[in-house]
Symmetry: C2
Subunit: 311 residues, 2 copies
DNA sequence: GTTCGTTACGGGCAACGTAACCATT
DNA sequence: AATGGTTACGTTGCCCGTAACGAAC
């Protein structure tokens, strides 16, 4: 058994079992990949693939298991090279971050800036996706670190590091009556059309639960995965927005009023997650530190103070 | 990076960094192993070994980490071949069991007999060791399954399957007064010289705790790792023996009297442990089933009934 | 002096690439 | 047709083994 055979298998599974594409990605010729797969099947002693004639369609049950172990092998091989680079080229490498739109747009910029200053030779990649996709990317080691609020808490194969707490804010056109209502309650919110995040995103389920518990049925006129989209529709007066308060930017959002909603909804915790059997390079760990330090400011400036004001 | 390089590294660490022995084990020549190690160091980019001149003495910190990942790689490679064999030669293979002497001598024989009948083509190996050694063997995948009562409960990298409960029995020459004392207490035991297991073996620490809690200081005249040794010295009247009750064999131990001690000591649980990231072949799992079923009888015949009698 | 590790060199295997041949859409 | 996969065959690279050298105990 050879590593190249496993590489062919793993890449094959990533390109929908197209042998030609697999060969391209590996800088090989198709026939070489065919050989690898053939040899692997011979060594394992069973068919690993489901075939339609000559075309490969998918994996047999045995193939699934083999793939799983093969991924782990390659990850560990990656870890070995990472250990090496960490001791020779400590400041050089690649950092692949997975994040939701909100994180990428409103939380990561200062973190990335600080990190890039500290590690100018580390190439940065930001991959966007839904929380569920991010968990998957982290598990398959297609990103190094996933920044995420939901959906990865229960995945045991992921190590999660809690980083900061946040809560929601109401945004509405400046003259909107909800900006003045006192006290502001879930009931009051329920009387206006609301624009907020789609399910699976940014604390949406806790959001809905809060309304359900209060016996209020909110009028969600629009859901979006993306705070910018929400703001856009708020500006066109489709409804009031409920967004993560850290996504309100005083400088750019002067035309929108903002009210902290932390008394009404539970706090959310944003974490950084990574695969448990992944070796974190020094700069990976440093990124986490920077992220935590930087978001500490977020908490003090944006979240804790308004929260205290309402307390 | 190639698998053979990692194999050389791992085997090297198993033979105290003797390159020649490594080569023998791998059916290679010394120079080949030297090459592998050299290439690996080159790829990792750092010294992996501590050297005294040309001799290899140990691993550098980086080497330790690399070794760790390399072991994992090889284990997963092993899992892949295991998956394959499980689907082609389901009934052929190797079963390496780690056990303490007591398990190997008194518990395993009927299990092994049943297993060997079911899988005549599976080669069996029994490795003996202390519980701590067994845990280590299982972690390093030098045994498939470790049968053990202690010392592996807290190791998170081991999966443990509880199998049966047992407790202790007093064994003494037939005329010994302790066989008649009623009620039998820890205090009474404390008045006679005792022979039992050494620390780290077969529930010895719970044994000592029981005495300590009762404020009794037992007179341990001899400790042994091995029930047979204990019985031998009991026969030569050096003291009374306290052994796992399942190690008393009515047919062969007619010259010794036996009294159940389960009211005096806590129950122990014997488990089967294996490395979490190990693929268990069908017959591995079947062995666990047979073990549990077979020891179920032990409980009914030897443990539960006397326990009820005393209840 | 013996055991052990490194280096140099040559032969043999096998991995890859080219190319011609099938299969599927 | 065109895209995708398999098989056959030749060449190159490199992996191992032999052997001579150098260290360490």
């Amino acid at each position: 058994m050879e590593l190249r055979q496993l590489r062919s298998l793993v890449v094959l599974s990533e390109v929908h079992f197209n042998v030609s594409r697999t060969a391209e990605r590996l800088n090989l010729v198709q026939s070489a990949v065919t050989q690898h797969l053939k040899q692997l099947e011979a060594e394992v002693g069973t068919a690993l693939f489901v075939r339609h004639g000559k075309r490969l369609i998918g994996l047999s049950p045995v193939g699934e298991q083999v793939l799983c172990h093969a991924c782990e092998v390659l990850r560990q091989i990656g870890n070995i090279t990472a250990v090496g680079q960490d001791h020779s080229n400590e400041h050089q490498g690649l950092l692949r971050i997975g994040a939701t739109h909100t994180q990428a747009r409103y939380v990561l910029p200062p973190v990335i800036r600080a990190f890039a200053r500290a590690y100018p030779q580390v190439e940065l990649q930001i991959h966007q996706g839904t929380p569920a996709q991010l968990a998957d990317l982290a598990l398959r080691d297609l990103v190094d670190l996933a920044v995420c609020t939901e959906a990865l808490g229960e995945e045991v194969a992921l190590q999660t590091v809690p980083c900061y707490r946040w809560n929601r804010a109401l945004v509405a056109p400046l003259a909107h009556p909800l900006l003045e209502v006192c006290p502001l309650t879930l009931n009051a919110l329920g009387r206006y059309p609301i624009i907020t995040y789609v399910f699976g995103f940014t604390g949406r389920s806790a959001f809905s639960d809060a309304f359900a518990k209060a016996g209020v049925k909110p009028q969600i006129v629009l859901s979006a995965a993306d705070t910018d989209v929400i703001k856009t529709y708020v500006r066109s007066e489709l409804g009031v927005g409920i967004i993560a308060s850290l996504a309100y930017q005083p400088s750019e959002d002067q035309d929108l009023g903002m009210r902290d909603l932390s008394p009404l909804f539970p706090w959310e915790v944003t974490k950084i997650a990574y695969s448990r059997d992944k070796y974190l390079r020094k700069y990976h760990q440093h990124f986490i530190d920077i992220f935590k330090a930087s978001t500490q400011d977020l908490i003090t400036e944006r979240v804790l103070e308004p929260a205290l004001a309402h307390a």
